[in-house]
């Protein structure tokens, strides 16, 4: 009698997984050569395929200069800034669920976020401290690029894009600063925008356009909210894309010194 061994659940599962991997849906999702399709065994070819056959290829080349992965050269500051940007986007979207940008509702929404929303306070803390940290990392990234001379040809344009990104980061942080609509936020923004008023010729007009009136009011809140959650992220994503693209087109990371 042929002993038909009863298959264990694990074997059944593996068999089912194998079927899925050979199915059309799976093959439609993953490109030929993708490690999700062909499996990953450590080999130089597969190491290249991990990058080449995935979305990562838009971000990283297959190989980089050996000195470029030394932590002491980049301190990972650009990567940290990008990671913080993603983290701020995610936490920011969560905060948007509970936030109405009208003067009547905003402060009670903040209180509700602190007291009733699951993880509301933690997510707000992450968002706020992450934003401060991002300003710091972007700034330090600029310093690192200067000290390594990475702004020199052929990377002049990427340095300019980087300065734009620094200014956009500051603007994002500043527009977000108003949104809690407490004494700290409103008066800090008042002080900040008072400086703008001193610009020659167009100072008053710029301040009026940004505040939606001569002083901070309900229009300011809505305006800065829109800038903070929609307009500035939209612009900064474009500049980040150009920045990353140029890093590769200009020959990867700079150096070695």
């Amino acid at each position: 009698m042929v002993k038909t061994a009863k298959r264990s659940p694990r074997e059944k599962l593996l068999e089912r997984l194998d079927q899925v991997q050979k199915g059309q849906v799976w093959r439609a999702m993953f490109r030929p050569g993708s490690i999700f399709r062909a499996g990953y065994a450590d080999s130089p070819r597969n190491r290249a395929y991990v990058v080449m056959n995935s979305l990562l290829y838009h971000l990283h080349p297959v190989k980089v200069k050996r000195h470029g992965i030394k932590l002491s050269y980049t301190l990972c500051l650009g990567g940290m800034s990008f990671f913080l940007f993603i983290l701020l986007t995610i936490t920011g979207i969560y905060l948007m669920f509970f936030y109405r940008p009208s003067v009547e509702a905003v402060y009670s929404d903040m209180i509700r976020l602190h007291t009733q929303v699951s993880f509301g306070l933690l997510v707000r803390n992450l968002h706020r401290w992450g934003a401060h940290l991002m300003v710091i990392t972007v700034f330090l990234h600029m310093a690192r690029v200067f000290y390594t001379g990475a702004y020199k040809p052929p990377r002049e344009f990427n340095w300019i894009v980087g300065i734009v990104l620094l200014l956009l980061t500051l603007l994002l942080a500043f527009t977000g600063y108003l949104l809690p609509w407490d004494q700290l936020a409103v008066w800090a923004v008042t002080v900040g925008t008072e400086m703008m008023k001193n610009s020659p010729v167009i100072g008053q007009q710029v301040q009026f356009a940004l505040l939606g009136g001569p002083v901070i009011g309900p229009e300011t809140l809505l305006r800065w909210y829109t800038l903070h959650v929609l307009f500035l992220p939209f612009i900064i994503v474009i500049f980040i894309s150009v920045h990353f693209w140029r890093v590769r087109k200009d020959g990867g990371i700079s150096g070695p010194l």
Binding site: M80, T148, F174, L184
Partner: protein
Amino acid sequence: MPTPDEVYEQILKEESDKGSSPAVAQGRAKAARVRAQRGSTNPNKPDPSTAPAPDNVREALGGAPAAEAQTQPQAEAGEQPKAAASEPSDRAASEPSDRAAGEKPKVAAATSRPAASRPAARPSSPAPTKKAVGNGAGPAVPERVQRLLAVVKPEAIQKVERQPMDRVNVWPHLMAAEFVSLLVVMALLTFFSLGVDAPLRELANFNQTPNPSKAPWYFLGLQELLRYFHPQVAGVTIPNVLILTAFAAPFIDRNPSTRPDDRKLAIVLFTFFMLAFAGLSIIGMFFRGPGFNFVFPWEGGIFFEL
């Protein structure tokens, strides 16, 4: 007639005089030597890289489909001899041969792919053995099958003469480092957020100005400057000049070197601005009390919230 080695030396010298890189010069000289060898062993046969030489073409890829593409070289008689010859590649699969049908070569058409046109039973070329016998004195040059795919003008070729460099795979070397730093940042930020709450003061009240009123910390350097200069200068001129200088920095600093030793002035200037900005910001954060007047934080307390 010069021997192959003489040709090699001659071409090498010519190329060096022209200023080609050593690798390019050597490659061209080697190619010339191979051409000279072929010419000397079999003078009846034209150079395979410039004229049709079907018998020199060997079935290079065995039974692979690409091998059927023994495309006859398409060099025009008047073309210059610098024609770029290339080995059979799988790209050749789209360029099947019509030689079996006795037609003149033409560029691939999808309809001409049937196996009938494949010259399967062709005897392979006797050339390699002949060469080995007839050219015993010269250095052994491995037989390379070359086939003309296209004639490209030399100006049209992008010469990438990049120095070879020590490179590592992004996966796993770079991505592992990135992932670790991501985890570290996330962990630190999470612990900090669990421990320290973001400030939320009472509802905004436009009739009650807090004393002191401070800008967000990244603008406190500017607010500090306002204590020393006219608002036009501190709030407008200085920041704008700084931004414009930053934009123009790569064009102001024409020094091509990236070595710290070579750019002391740039580093000193940048460090000076960094320290000045940091110093002003720290004074603005911790040393300014009510009325934005100077206080020592250990005496008057800290009037600063993030």
